[in-house]
Symmetry: C2
Amino acid sequence: MSKRRTTIYDLATLADTSPSVVSAVMSGSWKKRRISEKTADRVFKVAEENGYSRNIQASVLRSARSNIVGMILPKYDNRYFGAIAEAFETRAREAGLFPVITCAQRDPDLEIAAARELVSYRVDAIIATGATDPDRITGICKDAGVKSFNLDLPGALAPSVLSDNEDGARTLTDILLDHCAATGRSGPLMFIGGRVADHNTAARIEGFRQAHRDRGLTEATDLILPCGYAPEKAYAALMSLKASTPQAIFVNSTITLEGVIRWLSETDRLMKGELPFVCFDWDPFGALLPGNLAMARQDVPKMMSVVFDLLSEEQNTPSKVLVPCLMERFP
Amino acid sequence: MSKRRTTIYDLATLADTSPSVVSAVMSGSWKKRRISEKTADRVFKVAEENGYSRNIQASVLRSARSNIVGMILPKYDNRYFGAIAEAFETRAREAGLFPVITCAQRDPDLEIAAARELVSYRVDAIIATGATDPDRITGICKDAGVKSFNLDLPGALAPSVLSDNEDGARTLTDILLDHCAATGRSGPLMFIGGRVADHNTAARIEGFRQAHRDRGLTEATDLILPCGYAPEKAYAALMSLKASTPQAIFVNSTITLEGVIRWLSETDRLMKGELPFVCFDWDPFGALLPGNLAMARQDVPKMMSVVFDLLSEEQNTPSKVLVPCLMERFP
DNA sequence: CTGAAAGCGCTAACAC
DNA sequence: GTGTTAGCGCTTTCAG
């Protein structure tokens, strides 16, 4: 257990060849080095027999490129970020890179600590997802010669890939307004969740407004409540609602939806489907809740695909790609 | 961007001192080496000015201990695994370790590939979560002198920490049986989801049986359906149900619940709360679904706490710790 | 087709 | 309190 681990030197002795040959064989570049199949097989055999495991740290140290790609993620507690994590790992492996995700708990300080930490591990690139200050992260990366990309939330200094929030919100609002018209509800709509300072929330509010404007309506400003994402915040905002109760609700994320649902349930409105709603982001159970008209499911595979295309193109100048949302309508 | 990165040698020259002093200062061991505050400050200053970032790979290579702890996780697509990921990261950082999670998509081959990969990175320990073949992973670790632990699913060769599945299932079944008695339902209960070969499913079925036995009842064997975890599997099993419809359902995981809910919804039973159910595992939306009587929420913080205690105690002999589930009852 | 040898950036003795 | 030096295990010319 504590004896020295086998190295390429041990293997070289055992296979009666040299360390450099073993290195080439174990790193997969032996074809290129035109090493004979016979020698390679001999090396593979002794490696197998001795439970040899390549020391990646040493290999990285020597060859500058680490083939590690890092992602900074805010949370793992909803389907959207979960899907991002999985898509990231899959794509990274397909690209022959080792994926490392680190979770910053939506904490700005942790975010930049995470960026520095990943840089210490000499990652080849960092994907900052939903970062509060993407440009700061890009700065850290630039200093270290590390490529960086923004996902979900845009920055000004690196390529950014995000959902078309405005368009998605407009469509969701249309669904809400259509439903109200069809069921004879004429009251105002509520928008709840998110932070005004946050790019995505701003874009979604803009889409919400657009949809109103397109049919000559004016949105009720006092019913636009960007009270933060946390369920408790939404719950509290709804409990202390001074303005008239809305006819229908636009919920800004599944996280926020948790609070909204709690309120609907406790005020005995949930089961009756009394207050129809739509939600940005998707969740399999949320989809089945009474009153849910539609969810905007962000196209994670597509977004990740775009990110990895940029990554492989060595493209690293600021840009912004918008990916349309998938719409799921119920029932 | 492409110029050589600053090293401790550059810093040593700039701060007019030696590489070893810079090394000590940057690695935090300078207090121990009794380096003067004045020198340290000088080093910090030039490091700052030059955007220096320590090369961890080099440091790991030299000092054998990597301070990296790896986790193999099946999926990120539910609250349980999400909570595990977050708790793992938090605990690892508290312990001064760098957490690396890798997702094996419930694929046995990927699992062992992941284990080998983590070993290549010279992690100090691997936590295998919900692994299909934990003992195989332990074997790989043992060969490399890496500590290993099992979480969620037990193995015979390493310390294992898991929920008290049997007890949790018994309590859930009790809730179901109590409810049936109280509402005059006398029919049989269904158990759905999971795999018989899987340790946790077996333990939960045992708890399900126990609860019946404790009140002199016999469970309906043809209504025990360990049809796998996937929603589609559960949905298909329910659609092709030959036996009489049950009076209430024990759902083996939130993943399975997705399929059950789809079936309830499509057969118009969901909104009426016609078929009460309980579920192993917890989900905030699932909790609000009509008919849901209780969810067994696994005590992730506690489980992780136990794992890290074992890890720090250098305890690595096979053992098994059971952590009780938290029960959430509705309404 | 194969081998020798020079480091990658850092740490840990050990010397002063 | 600080500097010198010998590697950690690997990759990569370059010479055969």
